[in-house]
Structures are given as structure tokens and as C-alpha cells.
């Protein structure tokens, strides 16, 4: 079953605006990651936040993690048309085999 649930499922904004996407998960995790997928292509890793971290930045990306609420958010500031893509959160959990479990994704459209 899917671990993560993103909301909104789709988001449409104007260039220059900020975009916020949320992710919730169900079980304990070691880390949470965000990936981007352009139009059915391969996924590109954006950022990883560990379970003992609360916030992380990378360029125009800001990720927060609240393990008490089992939720994370991805903020993209000053969006560009090139940011148009699907964004997925994925939770990583150590066990007999380390693997990622992906959420359903948010389709972001940035209008020029």
C-alpha cells in the first residue's frame, strides 16, 4: 500500500508565485525525499530530509518535516514555467531491505 499521500493532487499557479505541496505518511521513517518527474519521464531527486531534521533548504526549495504529525511540505519559491512537473514524496525506511515508498504525487503547473 502507498505510504505517502500528497495534497493537493494538482496545483496551478502563475510564474513568480510560491508553490506548496504537502505529504503525509503512516509509519516510522528514516528519511523523507522529494522527487520531480517531467511528463512521464524518469524521476529526479530533489532533496532528502532525515527523521531527526525539521527543515532543509536547497536553492529555491524548502522542505519541512514534522514527525509527530507524520507530514512534510515542499515549498518552491519564485516558481518558473520550467518547474511544471509532477512532484512525489518518498519515505525511506531501513529494514531487511532498504527501499523507498512513493506517494501519489502532486501535478504542478506553472503558467507563464
Amino acid at each position: 500500500s502507498q505510504q505517502g499521500e500528497e495534497d493537493p493532487q494538482a496545483l496551478s499557479i502563475q510564474e513568480g508565485e510560491n508553490a506548496t505541496m504537502n505529504c503525509s505518511y503512516k509509519t516510522s521513517i528514516n528519511n523523507l525525499q522529494w522527487y520531480r518527474q517531467n511528463s512521464g519521464r524518469g524521476l529526479v531527486h530533489l532533496i532528502l530530509i532525515r527523521s531527526n531534521e525539521r527543515e532543509k533548504h536547497s536553492g529555491r526549495l524548502r522542505v519541512t518535516l514534522d514527525t509527530s504529525k507524520k507530514s512534510s511540505s515542499l515549498l518552491i519559491t519564485a516558481s518558473r514555467a520550467a518547474d511544471t512537473a509532477s512532484y512525489f514524496c518518498a519515505t525511506g525506511r531501513r529494514g531487511s531491505n532498504y527501499k523507498l515508498t512513493f506517494g501519489k504525487g502532486t501535478l504542478l503547473t506553472v503558467n507563464p
Binding site: G40, H45, L48, K99, L100, T101, G105
Partner: protein, 115 residues
Amino acid sequence: SAVISQKPSRDICQRGTSLTIQCQVDSQVTMMFWYRQQPGQSLTLIATANQGSEATYESGFVIDKFPISRPNLTFSTLTVSNMSPEDSSIYLCSVEDDTGRETQYFGPGTRLLVL
């Protein structure tokens, strides 16, 4: 980061046939993963493939339907057997970052349509 290529990039197949998808990595990696992404959906892990051992399949996926080979540290294949239209999906391979960063690098995917 690893660079991953997949062949074919897309294919249209008839039901009942099989398709083998190849995944090539530009460096040696321990773990490789195969995912399925059905239209408009998220990624679902099919199996984990380690070199020199049998692939580990996730619940709902079986070796007879999705046989996997991992002959060396840079290559793997996934076969989709006895295909039906429900197998129409994007199939992606990925590798784990061996530097311990716990991230994965993905291939461009194989877009499969079964008629």
C-alpha cells in the same frame, strides 16, 4: 551520481507476448530496483535486484510474471510476461546511491502499451 539508460524507450505490444526491458548503469552499483507506474499513478516497487542473488519481489508481484536478471553490477533486465492491457505502464529502473546518501537515481523509463 549514476547515469542510467533503458531500452526500449517505448513499445507497443500484443497481448500474450513478452517484452524484456534492459537497464544499464554507467558505474557499478549494489542494488537495482524496478518500478511500475500505471497511467496517472505513482510508482510501485516491483522488485529489488542484487547481483548474484534472486530478486526480492514485493507483494502482488511474482517471478513468473516479472522475471528479473542481474548478471553483473551494471546491468539488469525485467521481462513482462504474457502481457495484457493492464500491463500498460511506464517501467522504471533505479539504483541506490552507493555513497550512503539513501537516494535513488532513475532511468528515463520504458513506456509500454499493450493492445
